[in-house]
């Protein structure tokens, strides 16, 4: 683990958060508006590699996950924030350029926006495609999954 714990870094910046150790690893939950501040502070403390960024539809809201790594120590950290449907989270491309593609992808597939993205075009789907990673878009019913024909 890095010399400074992620919780200490965020506390020093005055960012409200909730930290927990889950099956996934170290998870920090915080407000979407503070995510850029949190990632910038973590970047300075060694979490300088964005492994992945993706969003999940929880059924009520969209949960965005930022997976960062302190490269020197092989320590992974997951930051999670909830965003409303059609809501917005700040883009973090100026801290991690690796976020450029996944932010565009999450925006089109979940129907949300990343404010401040320099090129907020669709990445994978064409114009008019619905945000199909939302749970409201069905491609197979639960019954069909349980008893495949």
């Amino acid at each position: 683990m890095p010399a400074t714990q992620p919780a200490d870094i965020l506390r020093a910046c005055g960012i409200p958060f909730e930290a927990s150790t889950e099956a996934l690893g170290e998870v920090v939950r915080l407000d979407a508006d503070r995510i850029a501040d949190a990632l910038a502070a973590l970047y300075e403390s060694g979490y300088d590699f964005l492994v992945d960024l993706f969003a999940t539809d929880t059924g009520e809201r969209i949960e965005v996950t930022w997976h960062v790594r302190a490269f020197a120590e092989h320590a992974d950290l997951y930051l999670k924030a909830l965003v409303d449907y059609d809501g917005a989270a700040p883009s973090v491309w100026h801290i991690h350029p690796a976020a450029l593609y996944p932010e565009r992808e999450a925006a089109e597939l979940l129907g949300m926006t990343f404010t401040g993205h320099p090129n907020p075009k669709r990445l994978l789907t064409s114009d008019g495609a619905e945000p199909f990673l939302r749970k409201s878009v069905l491609i197979r019913t639960a019954e069909e999954v349980r008893r495949p024909s």
Binding site: V51, T56, T65, H96, A98, N119
Partner: protein, 399 residues
């Protein structure tokens, strides 16, 4: 024109030059052709183009032959694998993942198996771990061969491709004998692997190992031993260490930029902690370094396969597998070092029969994002080579 002509000549009122004595027998003053406007040209490379390695569309802005900016336009192969996985049972997902990275399907299958096993707490027999590692190394070698051949073609060398495909055929025969399929394997399952090594395949692998070094030396001599090829690779498509890290690059591309990071060694999985291998590194992060790192990796592959086949333990290839797998609610992430880099799968389960959300962290997707940085400032001919050196697979990028 602000430049003064070197020879002062009388000019008529109409602007034409007097025929007078000109130096060196020139016919006229070399003023050039005026009023020729130069503008940037936006060129569409792909989606149907032999050197875009799939259906990739790259927009390049050119000033003459120099690339000013580049942007990748993706999605031509998007099938919504992540959404499809949400309506498949846990055992059915590997068939989708085979079609994500279709050159090295065993890596994504193993990443899936490791993720599910991590969340469900399934123990894997030692034999299965070794079989997974063996198959992954065979698959890595086959994948690197495809890269080596197509990379040569991008640089204009057709002949090595034919020899390389002959070598790959031997490997695909071995993989087919073990898994039953040449490319769409569905061999690695949560809990183990589908089948043990069949009789006789051991001799087949050893026969390949006997010639593998020679074949690789020959192929390397054809490409890497070619002075023209080397001169073209050196200093082009430079991606420095900071850029590589900022764009989330992993695998051979990252190691060519001098970052010593390999999941097989640093976050070990399967049989890798018991194996002995080296991680080749580059310095400058140019095309030559990426070539050298991958060819170095192929040599390590041969070494690993030899160790894996010599030390293959006895035992069952799979633990007890239930017909319908239910995974407790929660999240997990596991990653393997695929031929292209860190292939990770993030699984969210709600405790049901199917995954709630499956996210594929595709290495080529992140490696490709660097094209704008890597191509700008270079020549259009080098852009093709640089793109080839990134070793992208569009099935995995578009998912």
């Amino acid at each position: 024109m602000t430049d003064e002509p070197r020879v002062t000549m009388p000019i008529t009122a109409e602007g034409t030059t007097f025929p007078g004595p000109l130096p060196c027998g020139l016919r006229c003053i070399p003023r050039g052709v005026d009023e020729l406007a130069t503008e940037h040209l936006v060129l569409n490379m792909g989606p149907q183009h032999p050197s875009t390695h799939g259906v990739l569309h790259i927009l390049v802005e050119l000033d003459g032959e120099e690339v000013i900016a580049a942007e990748a336009s993706l999605g031509y192969l998007h099938r919504g694998i992540e959404k499809l996985a949400e309506s498949r049972r846990y055992h059915q997902v590997p068939t989708l993942l085979d079609r994500a990275d279709y050159i090295s399907g065993l890596h994504s299958e193993t990443a899936w198996a490791l993720t599910v096993e991590k969340l469900a707490g399934i123990e894997v027999p030692r034999k299965a771990s070794w079989l997974r590692a063996l198959l992954m190394e065979l698959n890595r070698y086959a994948s690197h061969l495809v890269w080596l051949g197509t990379f040569g073609m991008d640089a204009g060398a057709m002949a090595p491709f034919l020899y390389i495909m002959r070598d790959r055929e031997m490997l695909l025969d071995i993989i087919e004998a073990i898994t039953g399929s040449r490319m769409m394997f569905n061999y690695v399952r949560p809990g183990g692997v589908a089948a043990d090594l069949p009789t006789g395949v051991d001799a087949k692998i050893r026969a390949w190992l006997d010639v593998a070094d020679t074949y690789l030396d020959e192929n390397d001599a054809l490409l890497g031993g070619n002075e023209i090829f080397r001169l073209r690779m050196k200093g082009t498509g430079v991606i420095d260490r900071a850029t590589a890290l900022a764009f989330g690059m992993t695998g051979g591309c990252l190691r060519a930029s001098g970052v010593d990071y390999d999941l097989r060694r640093d976050v070990p999985y399967c049989a890798y902690p018991e194996l002995d291998f080296e991680v080749p590194l580059g310095v400058r992060g140019d095309n030559m370094d990426r070539y050298d790192v991958r060819v170095g990796e192929m040599r390590q592959c041969i070494r690993l396969i030899r160790q894996l086949i010599d030390g293959m333990p006895e035992g069952e290839p799979s633990g007890k597998r239930s017909r319908v797998l239910k995974v407790p609610a929660g999240e997990s992430y596991a990653a393997v070092e695929s031929p292209r880099g860190e292939l990770g799968i993030h699984l969210v389960s709600d405790g049901g029969f199917t995954p709630y959300r499956m996210r594929l962290r595709s290495p080529a997707y992140f490696n490709l994002a660097v094209v704008d940085e890597a191509l700008a400032g270079g020549l259009i001919a080098d852009a093709i080579v640089t793109l080839g050196s990134l070793d992208i697979v569009l099935g995995e990028i578009d998912r």
